[in-house]
């Protein structure tokens, strides 16, 4: 790890000002940033410690939930009212990382964790995301765990967050605060496709900070579920995951929101599956038929084509569990 200085500003404005100085990074839980710094993927000259800022509250009202960016993963997973109204959030969190990491890592940081692509994390390898213009060895190399949706000739790195998949299915937004003020961005618009600039992963401007996650209010007849499939039973990133939020009307599905993880260069909504589910009978046949459309538009490479049937089956299981 390279040397740096560390400052702990007293308030948000001071933190934003400190981050305007060159080569600065915010640090909160630090679980991903510390790994990246140890591996020289990140080499900030100064850290701005935001842990002391008052961004660690959860409030739930008639118009939805507001989750402070500094809430710890473990605390949100244990939050009684979140578990009652948004259980898919707790499911995704408890399928993430380890108990130790969940005690440290924050909600805002979780949404900004970097890809687990081995080439990105190895400074001895070329990588367009880490060093633009150097190439992507994954496309012809080891890409078994990488993306089948949203990739480009420049990058096929997957977004590793479980939480983001659940939040996407809940139509969450993120509240951002920068020197220019506060703005709210739907999570689906927050992440960028790699295109020819894979180093740009989100719409966050330099020195801008996630201050909160906003969730619309939960409907009364809502069912949800999160399924995560991985190479080992626990403490592992997803090969494929699926978050389902469905509103039932009798024995029919009124509408469904469907998001998948481990397959896209960003957390991925599947509108064609949602359209097939809208008004469909809540039967295994109708659900399997809708899930079969999940692979539309996918671009598998030789070693990751297995993710298409895996994604379809993960969706089927998540939907059947949700409506059971």
């Amino acid at each position: 790890m390279e040397a740096f200085t560390i400052a702990a500003p007293r308030d948000l404005d001071a933190a934003l000002a400190a981050a305007q100085q060159g080569d600065a990074k915010f640090i909160a839980g630090g679980t991903d940033l510390m790994q990246l710094m140890k591996d020289f993927v990140e080499r900030p000259k100064r850290l701005v410690d935001i842990d002391g800022l008052p961004l660690d509250g959860v409030t739930i009202g008639a118009d939805g939930a507001r989750i402070g960016a500094l809430v710890r993963m473990a605390d949100l997973a244990d939050h009684a009212e979140i578990r009652r109204q948004y259980p898919v959030v707790a499911e995704a969190l408890l399928a993430s990382a380890s108990p130790q990491v969940r005690n440290m890592a924050t909600i805002g940081g979780n949404l900004l964790q970097r890809t687990r692509c081995g080439y990105f994390r190895d400074v001895g390898s070329p990588c367009n995301k880490r060093e633009p213009g150097t190439g992507c060895p994954a496309i012809r190399g080891d890409h078994r765990r990488l993306a089948i949706l949203g990739g480009s000739d420049y990058c096929i790195a997957t977004n590793p967050s479980d939480l983001a998949v659940a939040l996407l299915a809940l139509d969450a937004s993120v509240e951002l605060r920068g020197p220019g003020g506060t703005r709210v961005v739907p999570l689906n618009d927050f992440y960028l496709l790699p295109g020819d600039t894979p180093q740009r992963e989100t719409v966050l401007a330099p020195g801008e900070l996630i201050t909160a996650v906003l969730l619309p209010s939960a409907g009364a007849d809502r069912r949800s579920h999160y399924v995560k499939l991985r190479d080992r039973a626990s403490f592992e990133f997803a090969l494929v995951s699926a978050a389902i939020v469905v509103d039932r009307a009798g024995d029919r599905i009124r509408n469904a929101r469907v998001a998948v993880g481990g397959v896209g260069t960003k957390p991925w909504r599947l509108p064609q599956v949602e359209a097939a589910l809208s008004g469909a009978p809540a039967t295994r046949e109708a659900i399997a038929e809708a899930a079969a459309r999940a692979g539309d538009g996918a671009h598998p490479l030789p070693e990751n084509g297995f993710k298409i049937p895996l994604m379809q089956r993960a969706l089927t299981r998540a939907l059947l569990t949700a409506i059971a």
């Binding site: 200085t5 560390i6 510390m34 140890k38 380890s98 039973a233 403490f235």
Partner: protein, 202 residues
């Protein structure tokens, strides 16, 4: 001769200090007098902090980039906490901060001021081992022992969190601690036993 009474732990501690940067003429002389051991090299950007470890407040001088694991081992000579992967993946470095289990390798020491840190050295109430330590011995919950301090720190937290409700739950909530010897069945047995004795069984 005093030099011959050097313990393995003390000798390894002295060797680690050598590896830390300063070459000395006579290692065994430090071993005989630990106070004479050279500490890590002081660099211009070092900062003075106070860490509260196992109930004791101790001044320590670290770099901003020094993680808690290295501060405990290299600066405070608390070598019970182990460095495995140094990336938060293996759990060997698990300690408690304000009662919560965390990976000390991913924690900057400079960010721990004002917090209560507990390491494996702080569990026992002399002469009694902590019940989880005793259970690991009774159930042979280790082979080489390298992961054991982290396993025990995690297990103590898991029982306090009330997660030890079944074998599957114990395995899931211990998933942040790897054991390459494969002592898992005995670790689970030790945790079940310690949970029963703690009265936290559900």
């Amino acid at each position: 001769m005093a030099e011959l009474e050097v313990t393995r732990r003390r000798f390894l501690g002295a060797s680690a200090a050598t590896a830390g940067g300063v070459v000395a003429a006579n290692r065994l002389a430090w071993a005989a007098d630990p106070a004479a051991q050279p500490g890590p090299v002081r660099t211009p950007d070092m900062i003075d902090i106070v860490l509260e470890v196992n109930g004791r407040r101790q001044a320590v001088t670290v770099e901003p980039r020094t993680n808690l694991l290295d501060a405990l081992r290299e600066h405070l000579s608390l070598t019970g906490t182990k460095k495995g992967c140094d990336r938060g993946s293996c759990g060997a470095c698990t300690v408690h901060i304000d009662g919560r289990r965390v990976n000390s390798c991913l924690t900057l020491a400079a960010r721990c001021e004002g917090k209560a840190i507990t390491t494996i050295e702080g569990l026992a109430r002399d002469p009694e081992l902590h019940p989880v330590q005793a259970a690991f011995i009774a159930h042979d919950g280790f082979q080489c022992g390298y992961c054991t301090p982290g396993q025990i720190m995690s297990a103590v937290a898991l029982i306090e969190e009330g997660r030890a409700v079944s074998d599957d739950a114990i395995r899931e909530w211990m998933s942040g601690n790897l054991c390459r010897c494969g002592a898992y069945p005995n670790i689970v047995a030790a945790i079940k036993d310690a949970t029963r004795n703690s009265g936290q069984e559900s």
